[in-house]
């Protein structure tokens, strides 16, 4: 049985910051990630990030991943275990995981869950055809693996992810036929939208996909305009030829690992789905289990980093690493509060009200 003081599950922006924050207080940390490189979703984000200097504003996601990952690897208090999928978290504080196909067990005094989010799916005819991808898959293929997902793409969803993926596809030389959005307004940031518009990509609001078609793979899609009750309007059918349909219809927190512990969760659409209840230190209703980042409620990477700091500091604090804890906690909390003050974070603010203990 392996032991550690604090285990952090997930090596994305929230998890890496958690590990760094806890280690900076003096705690001994083990960071587990199922991928072969740290960074989570950062490793496929070629665009520059928003926020302030504390969240590496202006740096590209891929570069932030590298900076944080280097800091984590250089920190002698952090043991990094990559290729490590956590199998289960148990009531007696034991965590089981599989590293390089080997079953292992680890006990810890505190646990930070930073497992991120899963992409939502969408119901339409033939949505299982090869060529229907989640937006994350398109990013992974292009930006991590250097492989093109196809030649021409139809994107479903004009939130930030849909807009960003459109831009990334254009950068890789792929044609983006259109972005369609079921809501009457674009959900993503205006600056992301403007980048796409300048490239001449049509964004069709109040539109949805009816069906994909193709023999053994996507060859195109039928889309149409929808009314306020989400029904297709007669005579608005359009046929787009495309070999990729990219779904960017939102994310939901990944808290499957925490479920069996019996923590309190709420269904909060503004945070993406089922979100764990937690106090201001990001501790859930099960003592010793903290959450940070998208698994605590879907937001931006910048707030994930701040939450990571808070969870890491708090976890360390609760086992006696108290070095200027209150001050550091307040700084991070205030910074996080500022990030959430804008009009684009209105829904997140409302959602957080429903899960705060």
């Amino acid at each position: 049985m392996l032991t550690t003081e604090i285990v952090v599950i997930g090596g994305g922006p929230a998890g890496m910051n958690s590990a760094l924050a806890a280690a900076s207080q003096g705690a001994e940390v083990t960071l587990l990630d199922r991928n072969w490189e740290l960074g989570g979703q950062l490793v496929k984000q070629t665009h520059k990030f928003f926020g302030s200097e504390n969240q590496f504003a202006g740096e590209r996601g891929i570069d932030i991943a590298e900076i944080l990952s280097e800091r984590v690897h250089d920190n002698s208090r952090i043991t990094v275990r990559k290729n490590s999928s956590v199998l289960g978290i148990y009531h007696d504080g034991v965590l089981t995981f599989e590293q390089d196909d080997k079953y292992k067990k680890l006990t810890s005094r505190q646990t930070v869950v930073a497992t991120g989010a899963a992409e939502k799916f969408l119901s339409f005819t033939n949505n299982d055809l090869p060529g229907v991808y989640g937006a994350g898959a398109v990013q992974t293929l292009m930006n991590q693996q250097g492989v093109l997902p196809g030649k021409n793409v139809l994107i479903i969803g004009a939130g930030n992810i849909g807009l960003i993926v459109a831009y990334q596809l254009l950068q890789a030389g792929v044609s983006v036929e259109a972005i369609i959005e079921a809501l009457p307004e674009i959900g993503g940031y205006e600056v992301h939208r403007d980048k796409i518009k300048r490239m001449g990509v049509p964004i069709l609001t109040s539109h949805s996909i009816k069906k994909a078609y193709g023999e053994e793979r996507v060859e195109g899609a039928i889309i149409g305009e929808i009314d306020s009750s989400w029904s297709f309007i007669d005579g608005t059918k359009k046929d787009f030829k495309a070999d990729v349909i990219c779904l960017a219809v939102g994310l939901s927190p990944l808290i499957d690992l925490l479920h069996p512990l019996g923590l309190e969760i709420s269904y909060v659409p503004n945070l993406g789905g089922l979100a764990p209840k937690r106090d201001e230190y990001l501790e859930t209703t099960i003592s010793g289990y903290f959450v940070a980042g998208d698994c605590a409620g879907v937001e931006e990477a910048s707030s994930a980093m701040m939450e990571g700091n808070i969870a890491g500091l708090s976890a360390a604090n609760s086992i006696g690493y108290k070095k200027s804890f209150q001050e550091k906690f307040r700084n991070n909390r205030d910074e996080l509060r500022k990030l959430r003050e804008g009009e684009t974070a209105k829904e997140v603010r409302a959602g957080l009200g429903e899960v705060r203990l």
Binding site: G88, Y90, V94, T96, G262
Partner: protein, 378 residues
């Protein structure tokens, strides 16, 4: 929610829904079912989904046999797909004692019309090529036993009951029962229902309802843990019961291997926690029995409960001295017995002749000491 009704069934598991459906089918038009969580949220939804007749007592055998008979037509009757698959149960003995017990049970089963038979190791090899028979001393097989989907069955009963006018209230918890020379009403967190008849179908939680009437029902929750693997192409027909390993393993229609066991010696309380020790020991048990499972991935694990009685038999019928208060507890195998228990208890209530020896399974037996010990529980 209705505030007055002919009968209240407490518990939305397979037995509760079967009782409610059968009552309505037999003419009790006004039935209300209350379930504190969602349908099949307790023992039913957590069970290993097997149905078998190979028991060691006359009563268990007959109730199980009646269930299998009813299951033949049940999908049509309920107008629901139940995934009932008669792919058999294979009971494996690893020593002479177990073997002679199996033979004794088989004799009884055959006498009662259950077509179980002893298999040679060659026959076992033909039936389950993956099975490691090194340790096996004997095996018993009944082709009529098999698999039944707990969720589909419970929902099938529930929907059919609703079509007959039964009112089903989920997320409704019973907090008290008023009794004065007979049942008067059931108090729930959603309101009070006047009624003269209550059926306690709460399985491992039956004693908590009993306590509301000042009764001590001898039903204790025994935790079982179960895991399911990733789905694979069909390669295992029967449910494998091993007395040596105290475990059950079957491949469900979806393709996953479901397996589990309980530890009868651990303290009896409602404990929904599952542990890694189970994961490891079940994996060992499984690979010892079916070596090719070694490379198969586990998807999930969970815990549920048998509502265990001192003799391992169901407790059915009216509680003597408590007019209108009925028990319908399967006691450790409730899901597989639900069709016959539902029918039997409903017949008892409506004055029809039950198709199972229900009077033998009354709670009174624990007072008189006429226990009917079941030797074949795993």
């Amino acid at each position: 929610m209705r505030n007055s009704t002919e009968a209240v069934v407490i518990g939305g598991g397979s037995i509760g829904c079967s009782v409610a459906y059968n009552l309505a089918r037999m003419g009790v038009e006004d039935v209300v079912l209350v379930e504190k969580s969602f349908l099949a949220s307790g023992a039913t939804g957590r069970c290993a989904a097997g149905v078998r007749q190979q028991w060691g007592t006359r009563e268990n055998c007959l109730v199980a046999k009646r269930s299998i008979e009813l299951l033949e037509d049940l999908p049509d009757e309920l107008d629901a797909e139940l995934d009932f698959r008669q792919s058999g149960y294979l009971l494996v003995a690893s020593n002479e004692d177990e073997k002679s017990q199996l033979e004794k049970n088989m004799e009884l089963q055959n006498k009662l019309g259950i077509p179980s038979k002893e298999l040679s190791m060659t026959e076992v090899g033909g039936l389950v090529p993956h099975l490691n028979v090194e340790q096996a001393k004997g095996a018993c097989f009944c082709h009529e036993d098999g698999h039944l989907d707990p969720f589909k069955t419970t929902f099938g009963y529930a929907r059919a009951a609703e079509r007959l006018g039964v009112e089903i209230n989920t997320n409704t918890e019973v907090i008290d029962i008023n009794y004065e020379n007979g049942i008067e009403s059931v108090v729930t967190d959603e309101g009070t229902i006047s009624t003269e008849l209550v059926v306690n179908a709460t399985g491992p939680q039956a004693k908590f309802i009993g306590q509301m009437l000042g009764l001590e029902h001898p039903v204790e929750p025994e935790r079982h843990q179960i895991l399911i693997t990733e789905p694979l192409e069909h390669s295992l027909d029967p449910m494998i019961i091993s007395f040596q390993h105290n475990s059950y393993i079957q491949q469900v229609p979806h393709g996953g291997f479901i397996m589990g066991y309980g530890n009868p010696n651990e303290p009896h309380y409602l404990n929904y926690k599952h542990d890694w020790q189970f994961l490891e020991s079940m994996a060992n048990k499984a690979v010892q029995q079916l070596p090719p499972l070694e490379d198969v991935r586990v998807l999930r694990q969970w815990a549920g409960h048998y509502g265990i009685s001192p003799d391992g038999q169901p407790i059915l019928g009216e509680v003597p001295g408590y007019k209108g208060y009925y028990l319908a507890c399967g006691c450790g195998k409730g899901f597989m017995l639900a069709p016959a228990i539902g029918e039997g208890v409903a017949k008892l209530i409506t004055g029809e002749e039950p198709s199972i020896p229900i009077e033998r399974m009354n709670i009174e037996r624990f007072k008189t000491g006429e226990l009917i010990n079941e030797p074949a529980v795993v």
